[in-house]
Amino acid sequence: MLPLNMAILDVFTDGSVNSRADVQEKLRANYGNFKAFKDASMDDALQTAMSNGLIAEDHYEVESDGYVKIWYKSDKDMIDVINSYIR
């Protein structure tokens, strides 16, 4: 089992497009009880990964409550970098 932050990145290594909620859904079975599984921590981890070029923004929309929902994805180079660290 990978640490949570690496499991988050692992979600993107199949080339899929995911929002934070999508990532949480895919990881809920193994990581749902983690304290760092909260929305804010997950958003923070995704944004830090994006600012370091491991994932990129695909598209976004603003929800009725003002929350900016972002979908991310990784291209082949990014997937190679992620895999070089977590495999």
């Binding site: 640490p3 983690f34 304290k35 600012s51 491991l54 603003v62 070089s84 660290y85 977590i86």
Partner: protein
């Protein structure tokens, strides 16, 4: 989506990105501020209780070599601080539910990178810094302050992070400010072979801290920084306490037994230990924010903001040791205040230049 709705969405997204950048800069600045608290409490801890015997060569330290009084005791102080910090980090990590992930992180490549970064930036760089100070005097302080420049260069070439002309100028202004702050305590050193070796050692320290900041920071975009700090402080504490103190005790002719005797005495000395524990708490937050700031802002801006420790160190020493414990000699000279103002300008330039470089990318 109407034009109005699209404009609002773009504004909301920009506000979110700006908020993230502000948070990163605040965390990086906080790392420098808290480093001052760590410096002050560790300095006072090393002047209290059993440390009086250790530095005075009396009691358990009777017969201590001159070498040990300089080098082994420095490593001992760092070991006690980092071990206290490691214990605090584990307690805090348990409270916020990270202990399981620490074990899992240790089995991964980023975990191994964090261990190596901790050894390079902890025991190795700190010892190189002390050696530099001893051989060349405080003239080496600005050389060691080059660590932010080195971190920025490593971040640029190893991880492709942005480094524009404006950012380089910002780093150089911060470096000049650090030199100005350090200049008030500089002693004139005769430039001879030994002094040059001391400067080389100081550059080694800058290199070690630069590597740790850039590499450790990048590792924290893959690993959780709350796990990273536990790995960092426990590694540094154990390597300092077990390996480095042993090596230095042998080199000084004091024997490994004495090294461990002094370590045991320092770790059970209540009057100084609480100060080391407070210093360790500051160190834990300072170092994890250093990593986190570099992960959020990039090594250049993150380490530039962290460089404010050059001001916050003397500032905290003045507040805690000077005012709190009533020890003379900790007032901040004018160079400290002017240097702090110059540093704010350098960080502003660094942040604005990085923002501009990001938008142009």
């Amino acid at each position: 989506m109407s034009n109005n709705a699209a404009t609002n969405a773009v504004a909301a997204k920009e506000a979110r990105d700006k908020s993230y950048r502000k948070k990163g800069i605040m965390i990086a600045l906080l790392s420098g501020f808290l480093y001052g608290g760590y410096t002050a409490f560790m300095t006072q801890g090393m002047a209290t209780g059993v440390w009086g015997d250790l530095y005075g060569g009396t009691g358990i330290a009777a017969g201590m070599s001159a070498f040990a009084a300089v080098y082994t005791l420095s490593a001992l102080g760092a070991a006690v601080n980092d071990l206290c910090s490691g214990v605090w980090s584990i307690i805090y990590g348990a409270i916020i539910g990270r202990i399981g992930d620490v074990g899992r992180t240790l089995k991964t490549k980023p975990g191994r990178i964090l261990i190596v970064a901790a050894i390079i930036g902890g025991p190795l760089a700190s010892t190189a810094y002390v050696i530099g100070l001893q051989m060349a005097g405080s003239i080496i302080v600005p050389i060691a302050a080059l660590n932010a420049c080195i971190g920025a260069i490593i971040g640029r070439f190893l991880y492709g992070q942005k480094l524009s002309v404006g950012m380089v100028a910002g780093i150089l202004i911060c470096l000049a400010a650090a030199i100005l702050i350090g200049s008030s305590s500089m002693t004139g050193a005769e430039i001879n072979g030994e002094a040059i070796l001391g400067m080389v050692a100081a550059f080694g320290a800058a290199l070690g801290w630069g590597i740790e900041g850039a590499v450790g920071g990048y590792a924290c975009c893959i690993a959780d920084y709350e796990c990273a700090i536990i790995i960092r402080q426990v590694t540094s504490g154990l390597v300092n306490g077990v390996v480095l103190v042993s090596i230095l005790s042998v080199m000084g002719g004091d024997g490994i037994g004495n090294g461990f005797k002094w370590l045991g005495a320092a770790l059970t000395d209540t009057p100084s230990l609480w100060m080391f524990f407070v210093a360790g708490m500051f160190a834990s937050f300072s170092f994890k924010f250093w990593y986190k700031g570099a992960a959020m802002c990039g090594a250049a801006l993150g380490m530039g903001c962290n460089g404010t420790y050059a001001f916050w160190g003397p500032f905290w020493c003045f507040i805690v040791i000077g005012l709190g414990f009533g020890v003379d000699g900790y007032a901040i000279p004018w160079q400290g205040w002017v240097g702090a103002a110059v540093m704010v300008g350098g960080i502003l330039l660094l942040a604005i230049s990085q923002d501009k470089a990001s938008r142009e990318a």
